[in-house]
Point group: C2
Chain length 424, copies 2
Amino acid sequence: PVKDKRCRKTWQVKPSLMANNTLNPIRAIVDGMKLSPHPDKAMISLSIGDPTVFGNLPTDDAVLQAMKDAINSHQYNGYAPSVGYLKSRQVVANYYSCSEAPLEAEDVILTSGCSQAIDLAISVLCNPGDNILVPRPGFSLYKTLALSFGIEVKFYNLLPEKSWEVDLQHLESQVDDRTSLLIVTNPSNPCGSVFTKEHLQKILTVASRNCLPILADEVYSNMVSPLDSFPSLASLSSDVPIMSCCGLAKRWLVPGWRMGWILIHDRNNIFGSEIRQGLVKLCQRILGPCTIVQGALEGIFNNTPQGFYDDTIHFIKSNAEICFNELSTVPGLKPILPSGAMYLMIGIDIERFPDFQSDVDFTERLVTEQSVFCLPATAFEYPNFFRIVVTVPEQMMLEACGRIREFCQRHYRPGRRDKNDLDQ
Amino acid sequence: PVKDKRCRKTWQVKPSLMANNTLNPIRAIVDGMKLSPHPDKAMISLSIGDPTVFGNLPTDDAVLQAMKDAINSHQYNGYAPSVGYLKSRQVVANYYSCSEAPLEAEDVILTSGCSQAIDLAISVLCNPGDNILVPRPGFSLYKTLALSFGIEVKFYNLLPEKSWEVDLQHLESQVDDRTSLLIVTNPSNPCGSVFTKEHLQKILTVASRNCLPILADEVYSNMVSPLDSFPSLASLSSDVPIMSCCGLAKRWLVPGWRMGWILIHDRNNIFGSEIRQGLVKLCQRILGPCTIVQGALEGIFNNTPQGFYDDTIHFIKSNAEICFNELSTVPGLKPILPSGAMYLMIGIDIERFPDFQSDVDFTERLVTEQSVFCLPATAFEYPNFFRIVVTVPEQMMLEACGRIREFCQRHYRPGRRDKNDLDQ
Ligand SMILES: Cc1ncc(COP(=O)(O)O)c(C=O)c1O
Ligand SMILES: Cc1ncc(COP(=O)(O)O)c(C=O)c1O
């Protein structure tokens, strides 16, 4: 008979440290907001980075057809290698390869969305106790993933007055001997900014001088206008090892399909086979993205008509301009004109809005009074701004801007004010 | 000008501890083997747990049609909630719910394959320094994931002479105060065994007495015959909190699609909202499985004809019997008759094969001489056995068994032998 050597006499099941440390700031902030829209006004949500929600930006038929072809072929139901089918990796390599930054199939790792690409890049390069450099304002997932692994996050500033270029001095001042990765998001979420070639070169100089590998989050690559204004980071460097993370989500407007990739650019063999092997091993944990989507990649890349991409960019650009122009004349707001991605950041002259303490307050009340929901940029570590998603239908964009104007006009207090006034 | 406070003057980019600690024993063993098939014999691979490789077990048309319907609906291109669409979770809940173990949509978490379900279950319940109890022989992913998180693995024995039932005394002797999870694989990979209701109850008693939550890996659920012989673990317990991990991979024969799920059974509210919230947070890292497959779940469950499942089970059972019967009469081999999943384990009386030192040696030479590849069970922590996958076409199965017989007859040395004999 089994000896009774019970170790626990009561149930004590608690979530792990990792689960507790996996924090999504957007959820933390949004869940804490009282979002009760005005009963007489239809809700307009300008908060979600999902271009598909309003139905005005469907993906192209060629993209859907490629999926159906993959299904009908019966070729893509079994397990693929954990890093993806060689053929699909080749297709991605061909698509992105250029003379300045050539790619082979072996330089491509297919992932479950760009999110997993970022997860893998961080987890192969960083140890607990290391730190990573992350843009502020910036996409919140970097911090979420880093903290869950016990990796520290150090922010470097972007400069709104310089179209969100990196404050290079500040960036370099943040580097220390435990810094293992520099993350560059270009085009940017939440800023909608696109760096010039010259600016990218300066970032590369800092990385090179400090021997810092780069995670280039280029999930919005090619979502800029004019198109030729966007060089990829890797095409400008011959020494800095770069993992460029991207995917189908934004450009092909199918974020739910969870197809992303890492492009490994390592011309000086600094990552070497060790890092590549590390990525392969990490991919074996969950065995890669859906094989049907992998099988569809060739058709998606080859058959999507240029007009589809152009139309998306044109629509976003036009909507961004409408929004920028409308809000430029609203008292107390300072929109920053974007040149890519699908976002617009707007500064709030919070001193002129004594009714609100913060961007979170401001955007919460914008829902209550006008049924317009924008993400407070505190979610991107950037208080006193808010972010607008510009993929909504044009009429909705205009209506939203009108309501924001009304809201600001009502709450704006002109003239110089000091702390005492506000406190009354 | 930027002060030169460089921290690294040379590139030092090394893979993280986590990457280094993510070890796949199958790869480690197989990559170390010299696999050069005999030039005159076509290679027969009985090593891969992918039922689709030979084309004899296609998925059902209804499964493919459900995918095409999901694509044509244009409803499943955007982001789903990270734990999956509520509707898809509801569909899964309905499919598995029974009066003994009722499920609601909120008890279901959709994941990127059963692999990610296991990854999430381990990572929400265990901290570095904890240990988990894993069957031996057993599926290697548990150890791979645990070690990558710094979680220790303690093995409990399965008994081949008792159709691979758990050695309950040994199991209980392995529990200590850092044990945070018991993993039960039923039906089993690599054994093909299926536990009786009575045996499952005994396992639950051990878990209950030691206050151990269970990860029930039931990815081969329903792949048993007769069908009613398989109760799920959760249907037999009212107190032990259980995460049942499963997916489309095996039963629907589409492992590449990467669709899995966790069913949370927690009738006494021991996981409580904390563990559920922990799972939700962990899902936000990579945002769930492909939405097209999520959208197809309803059609897949509702429209797949019963005959499809029956045919698969019938085929596997018949092939397993052929293999068992053929190999039962081979000198030096001891196959164990399976009753589910799609595997068969075969003991090697290694003392009778003086030409080989181990199962790894044995299977390597089986490739060299007979072009038949089986996984050495060292990959499952169980030396001197090998595993055969029984989903290959019947003719291939017969041919492989014939070659294995020839191989064994050639190398078998009857009679008592001692170490000295072998060393000569
Ligand atoms: C900058 C940035 N990177 C990565 C992602 C994640 O992309 P995916 O949906 O492919 O995981 C997003 C999504 O919004 C993003 O804005
Ligand atoms: C016992 C067991 N669990 C889980 C898995 C992984 O399943 P999936 O392909 O859905 O990740 C396998 C795959 O072979 C398995 O044998």
